[in-house]
């Protein structure tokens, strides 16, 4: 029984980790199964639902379509790394206030997408928010409240 593993150095939420991984391990499974960072969710494992959205070097990526080894030398931020010293990020606070989720399973991905959406300058109108948040599915149908939350957070982040 042989197993081929490679060392992978990951910078996640400001913490450095060295993992010995099979090359086929995705960033999503490394986060969830090896590092205990289970806030990032698996909904489809095919890049179709957005539940696994994280930031790599500040840009939103689908962790299920990213091999852990591809994140070597890059900066990864997950939902666990968004709040600073116990204080919610404005997007997290807006999601809570606007009731922008129900079951909560897609929520970490929605929030990571929303943070990037605002940073990209794509939260200028409700229509633009709907379009640039369209990669994150929500089966509960929280979309109207997600739009409201992103709108509210965008104003706070920009001010």
């Amino acid at each position: 029984m042989t197993k081929t593993t490679i060392p992978v150095h990951l910078d996640i939420n400001g913490d450095r980790h060295t993992l010995q991984l099979e090359p086929r391990v995705t960033l999503l499974d490394a986060l969830r199964d090896r590092l205990g960072l289970t806030g990032t969710k698996k909904g489809c494992d095919h890049g179709q639902c957005g539940a696994c959205t994280v930031h790599v070097d500040g840009e939103r990526v689908l962790a299920c379509l990213t091999l852990a080894a591809q994140a070597e030398g890059r900066t990864v931020t997950t939902i666990e790394g968004l709040a600073r010293e116990g204080e919610l990020h404005p997007v997290q606070a807006a999601f809570l206030e606007q009731d922008a989720f129900q079951c909560g399973y897609c929520t970490p991905g929605q929030i990571m997408s929303a943070v990037a959406c605002i940073r990209e300058g794509h939260a200028g109108s409700d229509e633009e928010i709907r379009e640039y948040m369209a990669g994150n599915l929500c089966r509960c149908g929280a979309y109207p409240h997600i739009v409201a939350a992103v709108r509210q957070a965008a104003l706070e982040v920009q001010s």
């Binding site: 969710k41 489809c44 599915l137």
Partner: protein, 752 residues
């Protein structure tokens, strides 16, 4: 006609009530926005292995060969579970002794009766190894032709539809009503198979300790799951501890424990280590239920003033070859529109598919889109505005039974929603509203309704000497807001500020909260909580009013009220005493009380109980390409007491978006040759994305209902789908002049 309510069931607001009705944010919200909420698959006990299902790629036949050796030879694979080595069960998984029990595929043999049925389970040290091991099994099959589609087999009349409803109902003479009618319509509508597709795939982490079993898994019905697993494994229910604090959506698919979840328990048994098993998305299209397809024919007759003389509603649907669940679509015509003659009937075929199950508004959603479309066709045939036609045929009593409604604020729903929408400016004829960009605009209406169901639930309440309270019930939160709404009911029931109340739920070692389904959880578990609160307050009042040192001495139980952690004399509120003082004097650290939530059979015998609503939709259709966009939705709903308007609005929005999805998006497509589902993934099985969803408004119409239960709660989880789907379809007709008769509405149907 009124019914006397017993004293301990008096409406809560007469006694207390500061938390109920408040738009509190979710109590579990902080956990959910920080990623700290722990869903089943987030658990990782020491020594845990990963299990991955190998599933059938044929619809019917048997497994001829599995390369178990190749799978076991893969590095990291620990074991392969097949019918050869699957641990024994105490009960045949094909046995069935109640209508809520469904047959499970637990590797009992090599037969295949639907695509995506489990044929083996690979257990490995890593998820990657288990996944690769499953691929290495390289199954060979002996396949038989699949029975596919509503014409794929001989039909029969099922013994019952839904849960125990007769397949055929009638009152009056429909044929005579049609014959005497001045105007008649007949139309047939088709709805597709749909899959729940909760964002969280079914998952289980199971660990055995001797004959005790520890489980993390999403469940809409903890006690039922516990009982089912106990029966299958021949162990006592109390030896099984299931934790389900958060469900990543359920929509009915997590109501009963499913085969794959039990296979996770069997895998853990086989290897003697904890096992995690999570369905892959494509594996959710088979063993965890779906909404069956329907073909519904509606016949209606109207007199010269647009009054219905007859409604005939016939539905053809499908179940699996091996179990019974029949979508009760035609029953939608029992409750909404007044008619002297109504006949509903069902027939069904058996197909090589997984067994269909409850999916958000089972029967109501499928029936509603057909009924609301037909009502619209009837209005058009009479030359009447479709809102006016619905009001003309407003049911003052439940049409099928003649029972009075316990409450029905549908008129207010029509008024409020139509005013907000601007309905009075709607031209009667279709294709009259092109917009400035040349798109065809259409406006449609649908009436929403859903029964106010209650099940059985229990709760336990505790008051402590430090002035705080505890409420326990094994309630399930799949996103509807149980953690918050029940804490609000608990706070009022205990006469405490919500911050003084600990609320425990989501675990099978708590009192049985019944099932989170049928839109009945808030009413049922809510009443258990309310009654548990009343029980413990009664004990506290006993301690106070019978003690000479208390300022409440002699007031009697009915002479005090509980508020803000104190008991007050009703006739002199200057006399009061805190809970802590009462318990301290009695030398008690805490006292408890228990309550049950149960439907009141006398009032249910006397009254028909339903929530109602009205939904208005605007669509824009590209006249050249037929592309449909919903641009506006306004709904108004009356569903009894609202515990938390913030959460209720979210439920209505969610339901309305499911209605849009029903009309325009969702469909599982089955390959007629292989019987396999061709779009078993979230890219090709379409559900709405954010950009598909327009401006949505949900108006909460006030409704007091003294009969449905003491709290006046009906239920809001499913009603939003009903009405909305039909409203969208009717708006498409109004935009284009083409009447949609199959769903989801296709571009090619509009282009003709």
């Amino acid at each position: 006609m009124t019914l006397e309510l017993s004293l301990n069931q008096q409406p809560a607001h007469l006694r207390q009530g500061s938390s109920i009705g408040q738009p509190l944010t979710r109590r579990d919200g902080f956990l959910k926005v920080t990623g700290a909420a722990r869903y089943a698959a987030d658990n990782h006990p020491p020594g845990m292995l990963y299990a991955v299902l190998a599933v059938s790629s044929i619809a019917r036949g048997r497994v001829a060969l599995l390369d178990v050796e190749a799978a076991k030879a893969h590095a990291g694979v620990v074991e392969v579970m097949t019918p050869e080595n699957r641990p024994p069960l105490a009960t045949d998984p094909d046995a069935k002794n109640n209508p809520f029990m469904f047959r499970l595929d637990l590797l009992q043999n090599d037969h295949i009766r639907y695509p995506n049925q489990t044929i083996a389970v690979v257990i490995a040290e890593t998820l990657e190894a288990a996944t690769e091991g499953a691929a290495l099994l390289s199954p060979r099959y002996e396949a038989q032709p699949a029975r596919v589609g509503l014409d794929g087999a001989e039909s029969f009349v099922p013994g019952g539809v839904g849960i125990g409803s007769p397949a055929v109902h009638h009152k009056g003479d429909v044929e005579a009503g049609l014959k005497s009618a001045a105007t008649r319509i007949e139309a047939t509508y088709e709805t597709p198979a749909q899959y729940h597709n909760a964002m969280e795939p079914h998952a289980i982490v199971a660990a055995w300790d001797g004959d005790s079993l520890s489980i993390d898994t999403p469940s809409q019905g903890l006690a039922m799951a516990q009982g089912r697993i106990a029966g299958l494994f021949g162990i006592a229910p109390e030896n099984i501890h299931i934790r389900s604090p958060f469900l990543g959506g359920g929509f009915g698919s997590k109501g009963m424990i499913s085969g794959p979840q039990v296979l996770g328990i069997l895998a853990a048994r086989l290897v003697g280590r904890p096992v995690k098993l999570v369905l892959r998305r494509e594996q959710m299209y088979g063993p965890v239920g779906h909404r069956a397809p329907t073909r519904q024919t509606l016949r209606m007759g109207m007199d010269s003033e647009g009054r219905l003389t007859a409604i005939g509603h016939h539905a053809r649907t499908a179940s699996s070859t091996f179990d019974d669940f029949f979508e009760p679509a035609a029953d939608a015509s029992h409750t909404l529109y007044a008619s002297p003659a109504i006949a509903t009937s069902h027939e069904a075929v058996r197909l090589d598919t997984g067994t269909p199950l409850f999916m958000r508004a089972p029967g109501e959603a499928t029936g509603s889109i057909a009924l609301e479309s037909a009502i619209d066709e009837a209005a058009a045939a009479c030359g009447m505005d479709p809102l006016e036609f619905r009001q003309r045929n407003y049911a003052e009593v439940e049409p099928m039974t003649g029972k009075p409604f316990s409450s029905k604020a549908l008129r207010e729903c029509y008024t409020q929603a139509s005013e907000r929408f601007g309905w009075q400016r709607r031209p009667l004829q279709p294709r009259q509203m092109p917009d400035k960009d040349g798109f065809l605009t259409g406006w449609g209406i649908g009436t929403a309704t859903f029964p106010a169901i209650m099940f059985q639930a229990e709760a336990r309440a505790v008051l402590r000497a430090d002035g705080s309270g505890l409420m326990e019930t094994g309630a399930q939160d799949m996103g509807q807001g149980a953690w918050t709404a029940f804490a609000q009911i608990a706070a009022d029931g205990l006469g405490l500020d919500i911050d003084q109340v600990d609320f425990r739920a989501g675990s099978s070692d708590l009192p049985n909260a019944g099932i989170a389904g049928g839109s009945g959880h808030t009413a049922t578990a809510g009443m258990a909580i309310h009654n548990a609160g009343a029980a413990v307050i009664t004990r506290l009042a006993d301690l106070a009013t019978r003690h000479e040192a208390s300022p409440l001495f002699g007031a009697g139980n009915e002479g005090v009220l509980a508020r803000g952690g104190r008991l007050y004399r009703r006739d002199d509120e200057s006399r009061s005493e805190s809970y802590g003082e009462i318990l301290a004097r009695a030398g008690l650290a805490e006292i408890d009380g228990r309550g049950t939530g149960t439907p009141d059979s006398a009032s249910r015998e006397a009254y028909a109980m339903h929530a109602h609503g009205a939904v208005f939709a605007e669509v824009k259709v590209d006249p050249d390409f037929g592309q449909i966009r919903v641009t506006r939705l306004v709904g108004a709903f009356a569903a009894g007491r609202v515990i938390n308007p913030r959460l209720v609005r979210s439920q209505y929005y969610g339901g309305m978006i499911w209605g849009v999805s029903f009309a325009l998006h969702e469909e599982a497509v089955t390959d007629r040759r292989s019987g396999r589902i061709q779009n078993a993934n979230l890219a090709e099985y379409h559900i709405p994305v954010n950009a598909d969803v327009p401006s949505v408004a949900a108006l909460l119409v006030h409704e007091d209902d003294p009969y449905v239960n003491a709290l006046g709660i009906k239920g809001v989880g499913e009603i939003g789908i009903t009405g909305t789907a039909g409203a969208v379809a009717n708006a498409v007709w109004h935009a284009t002049g083409v009447r949609p008769r199959r769903f989801p509405i296709r571009i090619e149907d509009l282009l003709g």
